[in-house]
């Protein structure tokens, strides 16, 4: 049973086509430049080229369930090399957002957690606070692994690189109002 319904595909295509040059996915010539340029494609279930093939075949479900999107590190190598001018990094972002929003794609769990925690922090304070982010991240993923990071954390703390308190911007309330406004806009 496909999770990604036709509707979701429509929503995705609409979003995809709204980004600059998003429509160019239709012009992919399947040359594989993206895959061979991607520093992490070896670890992906589907290479970037295959993701585009799957998208065009309407197999959004397959795409979202793969680990591929969460292995994109936004290095833009594919985007600058793509002979069809496809902004593939932006396509990946769009897929990440779709997966997160519809909670499809468990394979990306650690990255999803990282991204969610990041958003929480920034929404609250207006800025990121790295020590808090890392703490939250390991709490929600693998607390045991946090222990292994302890020596590094200690070294950082020792050098003053792990400040305990984060900073909240003065305009936090205003920023929240802006976020509310854009949220409302998006739900229209």
């Amino acid at each position: 049973m496909a999770v990604a319904s036709l509707d979701l595909r429509e929503v995705f295509l609409q979003k995809l086509y709204s980004i600059p040059n998003g429509r160019k996915v239709n012009e992919c010539i399947q040359c594989g430049t993206c895959s061979a340029s991607c520093p992490t494609s070896h670890a992906m279930d589907y290479s970037p080229r295959e993701i585009i093939a799957a998208l065009r075949a309407g197999m959004l479900d397959r795409v979202l369930r793969s680990n591929t999107v969460w292995l994109c590190s936004s290095c833009y190598s594919c985007s600058v090399r793509c002979p069809a001018g496809i902004p593939f990094t932006d396509v990946m972002y769009e897929l990440k957002r779709l997966g997160v929003k519809h909670r499809i794609g468990d394979k990306g769990a650690p990255n999803t957690v990282m991204a969610r925690e990041f958003v929480h922090l920034v929404d609250r304070r207006g800025r990121n606070h790295e020590p808090a982010l890392i703490r939250q991240y390991f709490l929600h993923t693998n607390p045991l692994r946090a222990l292994r990071q302890f020596p590094l954390a200690l070294r950082l703390w020792w050098r003053g690189r792990m400040p305990l308190r984060g900073h909240t911007i003065k305009g936090a309330a205003g920023l929240r109002r802006m976020m509310a406004a854009i949220e409302e806009n998006g739900s229209k």
Binding site: W70, S74, I134, P163, I169, A180, A181, I182
Partner: protein
């Protein structure tokens, strides 16, 4: 007749806003969240060398998160709002915006461009900003500090500041991804030579370094350590094999990945990956004769001070 007057007025107005920035000396400085915590050395050294070069970096008042990679992955328009708020603040200040963080640079620059290109996005963001009583007209230039130093300040001024030339020091200039990609406005997107030129002005030399703009793995060092280590490992290995004494970076995330995990990374790629890693600002500051404190050399996880000390003996 009236149009002539209007266009003149317009021209002089825009000229006055741009002159304040484009005399090339005064910038709104955007440090970025990372420089407030784990990578404060970059902030400290950036401010120190800027002062030496006669650049006035005025910290952007009440700046917020740029809307970074991790944020865009969850919510797009919100991320643009975050960027836009910073751009609006910079516009208010009437100065171009400079940041030393490649991640922040790409996010702010991209938001700026996309808003300029996409009227629908622009109007959505304008409405959101208005909810917080702010406005962005799209007049701010977003710059990377490295680009400003090399392309605006330039060779003559930089050379004039050098008191401890980096004679004999072999440097791997690791530019990373997001300094020159995706737009490649000021440097080749795949083979940037911005830091190479700079090191040369400082009296040092850079080694041929094929992986100078390959990916360090970014956040994956934490979320997918196997993948991250392999990427970082390749870079450190290649730098070592090229005969580099150290690696310099222009991005806090690259810096952290390259310096923070060298033992485990070495194990992953099966070679010794221990190599001093420092910000280009630290290296530049050292050549300018600035002391270790002004460059926060003590923050380093790699033996940077020792390297520079040795180097100082050289010269």
């Amino acid at each position: 007749m009236s149009t002539t007057v209007n266009s003149n007025a317009g021209a002089s107005a825009s000229a006055s806003t741009s002159t304040r920035g484009s005399d090339g000396r005064v910038f709104s400085y955007y440090p970025g969240c990372s420089q407030m915590a784990m990578n404060r050395a970059y902030d400290v050294s950036t401010r120190s060398v800027a002062a030496r070069l006669g650049l006035e970096l005025v910290e952007l008042e009440d700046w917020n998160c740029c809307g970074a990679t991790a944020y865009v992955a969850i919510r797009e328009e919100q991320a643009f709002v975050l960027s836009a708020r910073n751009l609006a603040l910079a516009e208010q200040a009437g100065r171009p915006l400079v940041t030393a963080c490649s991640g922040c640079f790409v996010v702010l620059n991209k938001a700026n461009k996309y808003m300029a290109e996409d009227p629908e996005l622009r109007s959505d963001i304008t409405r959101a900003l208005a909810a917080g009583s702010m406005r962005y007209r799209g007049t701010v230039a977003v710059r990377h500090f490295l680009d400003v130093v090399v392309n605006d300040v330039g060779e003559e001024t930089v050379r004039a500041q050098v008191t401890r030339p980096l004679t004999g020091l072999k440097v791997a200039a690791y530019h990373g991804c997001q300094f020159s990609r995706p737009f490649g406005e000021r440097a080749d997107p795949e083979f940037p030579d911005t830091m190479d030129r700079l090191v040369n002005w400082l009296g040092g030399e850079t080694v041929p370094f094929a992986l100078k703009a390959k990916c360090c793995g970014g956040l994956m060092m934490t979320t997918q350590p196997d993948v991250g280590r392999a990427l970082t490992g390749k870079i450190l290995k290649a730098a070592k094999e090229a005969g580099a004494d150290c690696v310099i970076t222009c991005c806090p995330l690259c810096q952290f990945n390259l310096e923070g995990f060298q033992r485990r990374v070495g194990a992953a790629v099966g070679c010794d990956c221990a190599l001093p890693v420092l910000y280009f600002t630290q290296l530049m500051g050292h050549a300018f004769g600035l002391d270790a404190r002004a460059l926060a050399l003590g923050d380093s996880l790699t033996p940077v001070a020792e390297l520079l000390h040795r180097e100082a003996v050289h010269s």
